[in-house]
C-alpha cells in the first residue's frame, strides 16, 4: 500500500494486520515513534494520522492506504523546533525521554484543536500518555506555555 510519512511517499507490502507502529519502526526505519505496551495503554507510539492523534500500535496497515502520517521527526527538527518542542526544551521536561515523542505528538495535536485549554482539558487530553519517570508537573507547564506561545504566534 502507499502512504506518506513526514511528507515522504512510501510503498510497503505487509500483512493487513501489522500495526502502523511496526510499519514505521521496522519496515521504514522511523524510530522516533516508540513501542511501550502495544495495547493502547501508554501513548508512547502516538503519531498523527491525517491530522488526528492516534496510537499507532492500534492502527492496522489495512487502514493506511493513502494515509498522511506525521511522527515526531516530522513535527520539528533539532534546528527547527515546533512550538511544542520549544516548550518541552524550555521546561526541561524529559527524564528518560522514552515517552516524550508520544507526549509531544499528543500535545501538538490537542493544542491544534483546542488552542486555549483549561487545566481540566489538559488533564483529559494528556492522561492517556504514561510517563514512568513522572514528568507530569513539567508536561502540564510545557503544554500551558506552548498554548500561550501558539496564541502569540
Amino acid at each position: 500500500m502507499k502512504l506518506t510519512v513526514n511528507g515522504t511517499p512510501h510503498e510497503v507490502s505487509v500483512e493487513e494486520d501489522m500495526p502502523l507502529l511496526w510499519v514505521l519502526r521496522d519496515e521504514l526505519g522511523v524510530t522516533g515513534v516508540k513501542y511501550g505496551c502495544g495495547v493502547a495503554q501508554c501513548g508512547a507510539c502516538t503519531v498523527t494520522l491525517n491530522g488526528e492523534a492516534v496510537r499507532s500500535c492500534q492502527v492496522p496497515a489495512a487502514d493506511l492506504e493513502g494515509a498522511e502520517v506525521t511522527t515526531i521527526e516530522g513535527l520539528g527538527t533539532p534546528d527547527n523546533l515546533h512550538i511544542v518542542q520549544q516548550a518541552w526544551e524550555k521546561h526541561q521536561v524529559a527524564q528518560c525521554g522514552y515517552c516524550q515523542s508520544g507526549q509531544i505528538m499528543q500535545a501538538a495535536a490537542f493544542l491544534s484543536q483546542n488552542p486555549n485549554p483549561t487545566d481540566a482539558d489538559i488533564d483529559d487530553a494528556m492522561s492517556g500518555n504514561l510517563c514512568r519517570c513522572g514528568t507530569y508537573p513539567r508536561i502540564r507547564e510545557a503544554v500551558k506555555d506552548a498554548a500561550s506561545m501558539l496564541q502569540g504566534a
Binding site: 501489522m18 508512547a44 518542542q85 527524564q95 528518560c96 504514561l130 513522572g134
Partner: protein, 747 residues
C-alpha cells in the same frame, strides 16, 4: 594462579556486605589509577589526559561513563568536567566511552560499610576507604546504581577537567615561553596576557607529548560558572525531537529482530514446546533454543512476537509458592529467631518501655519495574569479536558474561552502552543480554535485536521484594516513648546476587535500610530487627530498594503513635530528630506549606513523613481532600538535602518525578502470583500514576549535608507514608497495606 585469583579465595565481611579479597595490599595500591583506556586507539595528534577527556585537532570529547536511565547523569558528568576545563557544553562532544575498569565506582560501596550514611566519623570513613580499595583490587566494577553516580563523579571528574586544563596551559607555555601562571583559560582556549588566545584543539598535538600535570587544586564552588546553576541537559533536544537513539532504536545493516518466550513461572523448567505453527509464518527466519526458553528470529519485531505467541509450551512448576497468599503466610511465619537477619538497632529497651501500646501490621507488595522501554539488546557475534548495543548499569560485568556465553576473550567483547528508556533497577539484571548473546551466537555474522514484548517484560521482571512489618509503639505523656519495628522480607540481595553466581554470607542490610538508620536520636527506646526469607519469587533492586517498604512501615507506625499521643505529627518528628540536616528538611517542608498556620477545613488532611536513604534526608508533606467518596491528591511539598546541588533544574525534575513514582505505586500497583505466574501483564493492570492523578508538587533543595549525594532514589521512600498519613488525617482511616486502592478509592 594470578594474584587476583589468590585474593579471591579469601573473603571477609564488612558490615552487611561480603567482599571478596583482603586489605593486605594497602590503600596506596588502590589509589594508583588504572591505565587510561582512551590511549589504546588514540589517533596521532590527539591528547587524552585521563580517562575522561580527549582532545584532537577538531574537537573536544568528554567521556561520561555512568549509565543514563533518565536521571540526567550523562549531562551532569560532562558539566563537572567542563566546569574545570573551561569549555561550554555546547562546544564539546559527550560520549559514554568504552567500558573499562578505569571507571570503577567506589561510591556505590559507601552504603555497605556497615555505618549509617550520616556517620562521617574516622572509623566509618576508614571502612569506606578500605572497601573502595578492596573493590578496586579484586572487582573493579563499572556500575551505576544506588544513587551513587554524583558522589562517585564529583571529585574525579572535576579533577579530570582541571588536569586537562593545566596540561593544556603547560603546552601553551612551552610553545610560547609565557609562564604558566600568566595564562588563563576560557571558552575552550588558553588566553595570553596580551589578549590573544589559542584553542585547546590547536594545542592537542603538543599536549599529547607531555606528561599530564597531576598537581591540581579544585575551584571553590563560589567560582563555579556551570555547576550549581540552572542547566539545559545535553540530551534534552534529542529527547524532544525523537532523534535520541535508545537501545531499541539501534539499526544496522542486515539486522534481524527476535523475541523470546521464557517460563512465566520464573526459574521453572521448559519441558517441551511445539513451534510448528510459528515456523511457516511470514518473516520468521529461525526458531532457536535459549536457556529455559525459545527465541523466534524474524525480519520484523511484530512478526517475531506474533509467531512466538503461537508456540505452545509445557512449562515446569515455579520454584516458589504458586499462590500469593502463601507468600504472605511465609512472611507472617518468619518473625522468629530462626529467620533473624539482623538485630539492626537497639536503643534503651523498647520491650520494657512504659506507655500505652499502639500496634500495627504493614504490607508492601511485589512491584514491577516496568520502565517504558521494554528490555532489549542487540548483539553481533563474529568469530573475532562480539558487539553489544544495549543500556546496562553494570557494564564491565556484562561484557564478561557475554564472553562466557560466546567463548570469546573478554577483550574482544565490546559493549556500546545506550541511553535507557528508564530502568528503576530493571537494567541491573542480565537475563535479556544473556539471551540476546545466545541467539546471536547461533547465527554468527548476523546482528540480531532481541526485544521483549511488554507482556514478557512483566512476566520476567524480578520485582521489588515483598515485605511485612510488625510494630509496637509506646506513647506516654503526650510523647512517643518507644518504637519496636520488626521487618520480614524476601532477601533482595541474596536473590539478585544469586543470579550472578555471588553469595551474600552476611545479613541483607536492605531488609532494615531506612528503619535502622532513621536518625531519630531523641527516641529513648528503639529496636529494629529484620527477618529474611528465601525461596519466594525471585526479586531485584527496585528504585530505593529496602528503604521504600521500610520507611513506609516505620513512618506509618510512628505516625500512629504520634496521633495516639495527641502530639503534632511534624513537631513530634522534629523533637525526636537528632540529625541537624534532617531537622532542617522537616522544618523546611513545614515552612513551605505553612503547616502550623493552615486552616484546612473539613474533609482535608495533611500527612508528613521523613525518609533517610542513600545519605539523603527527605521530608514530604501530602495534602488530600476527601471528595464525595474518593480521595484526591491536592498538593505535595518535598524538601531534600543533597549536600551540594549540581543542577537545580534537573534536581527539581528528579524530586517531582520520584515523588510521583513513590505515590503512584503506593496508590495503584502490586504484582501478585497465581499458578506461579505474575497476574499483571501490561499497564492496564499496573498503571502507577497518570497525569490526571498527579498533584501539584513543590520542591526545595537544601545544602546542609556534609557530602554530595545523588537524588535518583531518596524522594521515593517518604512519599508513600506521607500519603497514607494524609489519608488518615482527612478520613480517620488508617491504611497499613500498599497499594492503598485496595482500601480506598482515588479520584
Amino acid at each position: 594462579m594470578s594474584r587476583f585469583g589468590k585474593i579471591a579465595r579469601r573473603s571477609f565481611l564488612i558490615g552487611s556486605a561480603a567482599v571478596v579479597g583482603g586489605v593486605a595490599f594497602g590503600v596506596y595500591k588502590a589509589k594508583t589509577p588504572f591505565p587510561n583506556p582512551n590511549l589504546d586507539d588514540l589517533a596521532p595528534g590527539s591528547a587524552s589526559f585521563n580517562p575522561w577527556v580527549i582532545i584532537d585537532s577538531d574537537k573536544i570529547t568528554l567521556i561520561a561513563p555512568h549509565a543514563d536511565k533518565g536521571q540526567g547523569i550523562f549531562s551532569a558528568q560532562a558539566a563537572m568536567i567542563a566546569e574545570e576545563l573551561d569549555v561550554a557544553l555546547d562546544d564539546v562532544e559527550i560520549s559514554f566511552g568504552v567500558p573499562d575498569r578505569a571507571y570503577y565506582n567506589t561510591a556505590a560501596m559507601d552504603a555497605m560499610a556497615g555505618y549509617p550514611m550520616y556517620d562521617n566519623s574516622p572509623a566509618a570513613e576508614r571502612m569506606r576507604g578500605v572497601l573502595g580499595g578492596v573493590i578496586k583490587l579484586v572487582m573493579p566494577m563499572m556500575a551505576t546504581g544506588g544513587s551513587s553516580a554524583i558522589p562517585d563523579s564529583y571529585d574525579k571528574l572535576r579533577e579530570a577537567g582541571a588536569i586537562a586544563r593545566e596540561t593544556l596551559k603547560l603546552a601553551a607555555s612551552q610553545n610560547t615561553g609565557v609562564p604558566v601562571d600568566q595564562l588563563k583559560t576560557e571558552g575552550g582556549a588558553v588566553l595570553f596576557p596580551d589578549g590573544s588566545a589559542v584553542k585547546y584543539t590547536e594545542l592537542a598535538e603538543l599536549a599529547s607529548t607531555i606528561d599530564p600535570v597531576t598537581d591540581v587544586t579544585l575551584r571553590d564552588p563560589k567560582e563555579w560558572k556551570i555547576l550549581g546553576k540552572p542547566m539545559k541537559r545535553a540530551d534534552m533536544v534529542a529527547k524532544s525531537t525523537g532523534t535520541l537513539q535508545y537501545g531499541i532504536d539501534f539499526r544496522t545493516e542486515g539486522m534481524l529482530h527476535a523475541t523470546v518466550k521464557m517460563n512465566p513461572r520464573q526459574g521453572g523448567a521448559l519441558n517441551s514446546y511445539d513451534a510448528s505453527a510459528a515456523e511457516n509464518m511470514r518473516g520468521v527466519k529461525k526458531i532457536l533454543p535459549v536457556q529455559n526458553g525459545v527465541a523466534v528470529v524474524a525480519d520484523n519485531t511484530w512478526r517475531a512476537i506474533q509467531a512466538a505467541n503461537t508456540i505452545t509450551f509445557d512449562w515446569g512448576p515455579a520454584p516458589y509458592p504458586a499462590e500469593q497468599d502463601d507468600h504472605w503466610h511465609t512472611l507472617a511465619g518468619a518473625f522468629s529467631e530462626e529467620f533473624l537477619n539482623a538485630d539492626a538497632r537497639t536503643v534503651g529497651d523498647a520491650g520494657a518501655a512504659e506507655g500505652t501500646s499502639v500496634i500495627g501490621e504493614y504490607r508492601s507488595p511485589y512491584l514491577a519495574h516496568a520502565p517504558l522501554e521494554p528490555l532489549n539488546a542487540t548483539v553481533l557475534v563474529t568469530d573475532d569479536r562480539v558487539d553489544i548495543w544495549t543500556g546496562h548499569q553494570i557494564q564491565t560485568m556484562l561484557e564478561q558474561r557475554v564472553a562466557d556465553i560466546t567463548g570469546h576473550d573478554v577483550e574482544n567483547v565490546h559493549l556500546h552502552n545506550m541511553f535507557m528508556g528508564g530502568s528503576f533497577g530493571h537494567r541491573l539484571e542480565f537475563g535479556f543480554v544473556d539471551q540476546a548473546a545466545e541467539i546471536a551466537n547461533q547465527i554468527r555474522g548476523t546482528p540480531v535485536q532481541l526485544t521483549y514484548s511488554r507482556e514478557e517484560d512483566f512476566a520476567h521482571d524480578y520485582p521489588r521484594h515483598i515485605t511485612m512489618g510488625r510494630g509496637v509503639a509506646k506513647v506516654k505523656d503526650g510523647k512517643v516513648n518507644a518504637l519496636d519495628v520488626q521487618i520480614a522480607g524476601q532477601s533482595v540481595m541474596k536473590s539478585q546476587m544469586g543470579r550472578i553466581g555471588m553469595s551474600l554470607p552476611g545479613p541483607d542490610a536492605q531488609l532494615h535500610e531506612g528503619a535502622w538508620d532513621a536518625p531519630y536520636f531523641n527516641l529513648l527506646n528503639l529496636r529494629v530487627r529484620s527477618y529474611a526469607v528465601e525461596n519466594l519469587a525471585p526479586v531485584s533492586s527496585w528504585r530505593a530498594v529496602g528503604a521504600g517498604p521500610n520507611v513506609f512501615i516505620y513512618e506509618t507506625l510512628l505516625d500512629e503513635a504520634i496521633h495516639a499521643a495527641g502530639a503534632d505529627p511534624l513537631m513530634e518528628r522534629i523533637r525526636l530528630m537528632g540529625h541537624e540536616p534532617s531537622v532542617k528538611v522537616l522544618e523546611a517542608v513545614g515552612d513551605m506549606c505553612n503547616w502550623a498556620g493552615a486552616d484546612l477545613g473539613n474533609g482535608r488532611g495533611r500527612g508528613v513523613a521523613y525518609g533517610f536513604s542513600f545519605g539523603v534526608p527527605v521530608a514530604t508533606i501530602v495534602e488530600v481532600v476527601n471528595t464525595d467518596d474518593a480521595i484526591k491528591l491536592e498538593k505535595v511539598w518535598v524538601a531534600g538535602d543533597v549536600g551540594k546541588v549540581i543542577d537545580p533544574v534537573n534536581l527539581d525534575n528528579l524530586a517531582k518525578g520520584g515523588t510521583v513514582f513513590g505515590l503512584g505505586h503506593a496508590m495503584n500497583c502490586e504484582i501478585t502470583y497465581s499458578d506461579g505466574m505474575a497476574e499483571q501483564a501490561n499497564y492496564y493492570d499496573f498503571e502507577a500514576m497518570r497525569l490526571n492523578q498527579c498533584p501539584e508538587i513543590e520542591f526545595r533543595a537544601l545544602e546542609n549535608g556534609e557530602k554530595i549525594r545523588g537524588f535518583g532514589e531518596p524522594p521515593i521512600p517518604p512519599s508513600a507514608p506521607a500519603l497514607g498519613n494524609a489519608i488518615f488525617a482527612a478520613t480517620g482511616k488508617r491504611i497499613r497495606e500498599m497499594p492503598f486502592n485496595k482500601h480506598i478509592d482515588f479520584v
